[in-house]
Amino acid sequence: MKIKSIHILLAITIIIGGGILLASELDLYNTTRIKSPRKTVEGVYDISGTRGSHTLEEIEKYYKLPPSSVIEAFGLRPDTDPKYFQLKDMKEIFAPVELEEEEYIVETDTVKVFTSLYLKIPYVSDETFYLPEKTVNYLIENDKLTGEEKEYWQGHTFKLEYLDSKYLTASEFFKVVVEEAEEFKVTGSTTIQELLDYGITEEKFEEVTGFKVPDKKSGSVRDFVIDKGVEFGEVKDKFIE
């Protein structure tokens, strides 16, 4: 049988197009969430398998690392929701610092090193040689560093600088919320509580999103609406209209 271009077109449509449709039906074509990190030969989750898309809640699930420890050690907002906060979000919070003529960013690998030190799970990083001073102090206060580790990390610290004032920690949190209220804009990190604090009524919230205000108001509006199948871009400006 002679094969022509039209046959190849049909084959692509049937095999690739049809295959994707069939795989979707069988739940074998997932383009979004990737889950568990790989395990080591000892059967524990390998820290190097931690991904930027992992939330603090997932980190707790896999490594038994309390989200409160990350929140406190990195000076995140106390109302940070472990269910929605992804490790890669760190990059959006902290300003890069220059150390030894190289730009240093607080990001997923920084949390990996922290997790390794906190839980005593081996992890060798080829990126993180400095930790925020706040993080090192937290580890020392909680007696998580051995003498050698303490000596090294105390000599390899830097000061955390926030990119955006709204991420400031507990002591300045109240002040920041008041400042934000003057020029309010719903962004990806705005929490439901912030929305209500600004003066959006529960009725208005329900009118815009189509759903009642949830009991847990510390989650972001963006994650809430996406979870409900509503596009964030479609609703974010409607709150303040």
């Binding site: 690739i16 383009t31 990806g188």
Partner: protein, 299 residues
Amino acid sequence: MSKKSKNKHLIRLAVQIFFLSLITLISVNHFRSEQGLVPLLIGSPSLHAVCPFGGVVTIYTYLTEGAFVQNIHQSSITLMWLVLGLTLLFGPVFCGWICPFGTVEEFVGKIGRKIFKKRYNTFVPSKIDKPLRYLRYIILMLVVVNTAISGKLLFSNFDPYFALFNIWSSEVTRLSLLVLGLTLIGSLFVERPWCKYLCPFGALLGIFNFFRIVKLKRNEKTCINCKACDRVCPMNINVSASRIISNHQCISCMLCTDEITCPVNNTLNFSVLGRKNPKEDSEKDSGDKIKESISGGAK
């Protein structure tokens, strides 16, 4: 190229443009999604999620640990199997018809062809070209082994495809931008340089040329040795030298076939191996007539 053959050529071009547009749209949507904007028309998966090579690099981790390496999704595994199935049947159709990066190289190559005319795609001396064609197998092995060991998607650090469609992203490394730039410049001189020398996925798919079910066959009885097939082949394969073309570099673009370029019907086409072309004998006479007319009747 006749009007009829141009139309046939348009089928592949349409498929190429479709997949190039699809990947561009996915890339734009991913960017929009990160900015909190609504994706257009379709969803906003990451580029890794729609790349079948992701399935290849994660296969070891997937089989041994049941997990994916960083940034790889289940869809990559599914796409890998679908593409391998397609390749087992028709050869590396993915390279010649679907891969958006191959399409971009081909489009840039059209500029090179206009500039250099017949000299285009003939710049690399055979002595260098032949061994370089095996470089992609070394890259394939290095990528698969290192990914299995590290659990990280190391290939994206120098992947020009990822760099091209993620150029707005901070995830793109300088090295991959450099590789992208060199590939695009190289495409002005050589057709599909990335595919020929460096692409690890092309290397894997190329192996299927040795046992693909639908083979590219040349009918020696009717072939007039005009070498049109050799000249049109983007991968510089010496098509006119074999009866069954199983070169590992073939990308199943069909440019050489009698549907598009070969001037004698039923002489060079894709067909299922082992089945005799019923028209072969009847075409023999017409082939002989063309041979006679070209050689002035001398045999």
